[in-house]
Subunit: 212 residues, 2 copies
C-alpha cells in the first residue's frame, strides 16, 4: 500500500566509463514510476534526436530569459553549448509523485543541492579499478587515445567529489549495482517527510480506534 | 564489490500487530550480515530461553552498575522488569561492519537517537487499517478481549510518533514490506559516511591514473 508522496530526484553521477548509463537504463527499465529528466539545450538537434524527448531544443535568447526568470535549477556550458534543467517540469513531476533520474556531473549536483536538497538523493558510481575503467573506455572504440587520456584525467577530478554524494557504489557487477540503486530509491520513497498524505492516514487510523 | 564500512543500526518499530515481527524475521532470514540486538534484562529466564541468545540475564545490581557506568544505550521498565541495550556489543558489531536489528518502541528509539543518531536508520510499520490490526491481534488468540483493547489504545499512542522515524511503511503485503525494508537497509549500507575505507579506495584509484 503506497501513501501519496512527493517524487524523488535521483541523481546518478560517475566518471565517464564507470557504468552510470547501463545502471540508469536498467533502473528505468525495471521501474515504471521513474523518468529521465529532460534538459533544455541550445545545441542544434541531431537527426537521431526528438525534441522534448531527448532535450528541449531552445535558442540562446530563450535560454537567457529562462535563466533570468529563475526557471533553471542548474546549468552548464559544454563545448560552447548551454544545457540546463528547467524548474517547471521537475516541480510538476515531483508534485504528482513521479521520480526523476538525473544524469549530471558534480557541478550540476552542487547547483541542485542549493535549490532542491530535500527532494534529492544522490549516488556516485566508481569503477573497481582504473584498469577496468580504461578497458571500458577502450571498448567503446568511438574515442581515440587522446580522448581516453582526457577522460581519465577528468575522472580523477570527478572522483575527488565522491564525499559530496549521499551514496557511493563501486560498480564491479552491473546486477548488484542496479539492486543497490533500486534499494536507495525505495529508501528515498519511504522517507517519512516525502509521504505527503501520511499525517492524515495516521489520523484516520486513530479515529478508527476512537470509534470502536 | 563492497568497501569496508561501519555497520548500521536498523530500528524497526510498530504498534503491536502491525507485522513487525514477521517483517524482521524475513529480513534476517534473507541477509546473513544482520543480527538481532541482544538486550540485558533483570526478568527471570523462561524455560524456552537461552542466556546470551534471547537476552543476557543479569541481576538488578548488575543492571544498576551498568547504567551508572554508561554502558546502556537505552533502557526501559516493563511490568517491573528492567530491559536495556548494552553499548559494548553494539559497538563491537558496528566496528566489524555487521548490522544490528532493533525491535524497540518509540521511547527506546528516542533514547538511541540521543546517543547513536549517525549509526541509525529507523523504520515505522503501520497497519493498513484498524480492522486489519484488530483481526491480526485476534488471530493470535493468546490475548483476551481486554488485552486487545489495551493494545489498540497503546497502538493509538505509538502511531502519534510516526514522524520521528526516518521511514514509514504501511504493511498490507508482507513481501512488499520486506522488500522495502531490504531497500532501506541497502540504502543505509551505501551511505558515503559509513564507508570507512572509501577515502583510501578513491586515493588508490587516483594514484592508478597518475601512474599511467
Amino acid at each position: 500500500m503506497d501513501i501519496a508522496r512527493r517524487g524523488v530526484m535521483l541523481v546518478i553521477a560517475s566518471p565517464s566509463g564507470a557504468g552510470k548509463t547501463s545502471i540508469s537504463r536498467a533502473v528505468m527499465a525495471s521501474d515504471p514510476n521513474i523518468e529521465l529528466s529532460v534538459s533544455v539545450t541550445t545545441r542544434p538537434k541531431r537527426p537521431s534526436e526528438v525534441d522534448h524527448v531527448h532535450y528541449h531544443f531552445i535558442s540562446v535568447k530563450q535560454f537567457e530569459r529562462m535563466r533570468a526568470d529563475g526557471e533553471l535549477l542548474e546549468s552548464a556550458e559544454v563545448h560552447g553549448n548551454l544545457y540546463a534543467t528547467p524548474r517547471a517540469g521537475v516541480e510538476q513531476s515531483l508534485s504528482a509523485g513521479r521520480d526523476i533520474l538525473f544524469d549530471i556531473d558534480y557541478q550540476g549536483t552542487l547547483q541542485l543541492y542549493q535549490r532542491c536538497r530535500d527532494d534529492m538523493v544522490t549516488v556516485f558510481i566508481l569503477p573497481p579499478s582504473i584498469k577496468e575503467l580504461r578497458a571500458r573506455l577502450e571498448r567503446r572504440a568511438e574515442d581515440g587515445g587522446d580522448v581516453i587520456q582526457r577522460r581519465l584525467k577528468n575522472a580523477r577530478l570527478e572522483m575527488e567529489h565522491w564525499d559530496e554524494y549521499d551514496h557511493v557504489i563501486v560498480n564491479d557487477d552491473l546486477d548488484s549495482s542496479v539492486e543497490k540503486v533500486r534499494g536507495i530509491l525505495i529508501g528515498a520513497r519511504t522517507t517519512g517527510r516525502r509521504l505527503t498524505q501520511m499525517s492524515s492516514f495516521v489520523k484516520d487510523l486513530q479515529n478508527q480506534i476512537d470509534s470502536l
